[in-house]
Amino acid sequence: MTALLEQTQAPPAATSGGRRGGYRARWAVRLTSLAAAVLAWQWVTAGDVRLWVRFDRLPTPVEVWRELVRQLGEPVHYEDVAQSLVRILTGFGIAAVLGIGLGIAIGRSRLLADVLQPLFEVVRPIPAIALVPVAILLFPTNEQGIVFITFVSAFFPILVSTRHAVRALPTVWEDAIATIGGGRIRTLASVVLPGALPGVFSGLSVGIGVSWICVISAEMISGDYGVGYRTWKAYTIVDYPGVLVGMLTIGALGWLTSASVERAGRWATRWLPANLKDRTR
């Protein structure tokens, strides 16, 4: 059939305004896309659309918005947020200190590597959330168990990246310090730690992400407060707008914590050629 062979005329390229106007145009596209998604959400939920996936049960954006405004006016919302933040900062903080410290120790000492590595390799493949029963058995309070789960989840990514970063350090930096008379402590403080920071921060970035997942899951399983607990609670009492507000809160807090780590990392490694370029751009 000749009709099939007929070439359809390509539509004229969308006018993007070239490179100079590009920035605004791209933001316009991004915002429009988001708005369209919200509109589509409103349409399928308000219209009770059932296409195998049952949108009629999902709350509409307007309902979610009202619920969000209501919760923002209640102290318990802030208590939940604060509780979850305290848990993640405690667990993540302990993981950062121990992960960096032990990562350096394992990276530098063959003996410590032989002693500790096998233990870590046995525990590491177990997803932290699978440790919930153990945490409940081990710790007197739920609170401590949740912090423990958060700690375990962030600990391994931080440990492993730190160890790799320490092993990958060019030996010439260390040799240079040795030959102007620097000792062990000086080498650790002036070469190993600062030199490993780029790798350490990639571990911290991964760590903060997984520790959010774990703090929320642990709260859902065994919390008495916290964003994860509140979200699960809303689900059990069939408060679907509450569930969605919980999800949005979790997302916002996750973004906030990850972005803070990311920012700190860029500051701590501002000497890297790639970051130097960013600064002068």
């Binding site: 930096w173 240079a176 040795a178 102007i180 008379g181 620097g182 600062p194 050629p273």
Partner: protein, 226 residues
Amino acid sequence: MRFELSGVTLGYGGDAVVGGLDLEVRSGEILVVVGGSGCGKSTLLRALAGLLPPRGGRILADGQPVRGPSSERALMFQEDALLPWRSARRNVELALAIRKVPDRRRHSERWLAEVGLGEHAARLPAQLSGGQRQRVQLARTLAAQPRAILMDEPFGALDAQTRAGMQQMLLDLHRANPATVVFVTHDVDEALILADRVAVLTPRGVEAVLDASAATKEEILCSLRA
């Protein structure tokens, strides 16, 4: 500081790089080591610095066996050895901090001025040229005030004029404060300008040690080819 090497074999892992090295470095002299690329000049300096234990033979510094690195024997590396997260000034300050010198900032700025980098003190290594980075490393090595300075092609990346200036600076410093200098280069002209004595290194060992005031370029080139 005086070095004595007798029957020294050096190498990495399974392979020996040079064997049968016999050499004396006299206290307070500038000994220039010349040799082809890959013949083991940097390896020799690493051994003198105590960073590479010899496979065989003995290395003595002032009569004592060299057992490890020490601030008395500072090595200026051929490769880039500055800490990239520290500015030029803070790299030099490191040597001063190890010596616990007070008033480090002023001293390190003085050393940087000495190598012609006074106005670049605040820059990071990545913001300096290759030759400037070498000079910062030189300043850091000198700031350690070692009794033996081991220099591995320190002026390799410099233009002729800056290089001549640096050579003069080294000679002036040496006259004022006669530390022992072991200086590696593959530039025979540079060797003759700086050296009290010139050692010609080949993979078989030290081929010849010539008195720089009497030796000619041809003699050195001839032993290099041998």
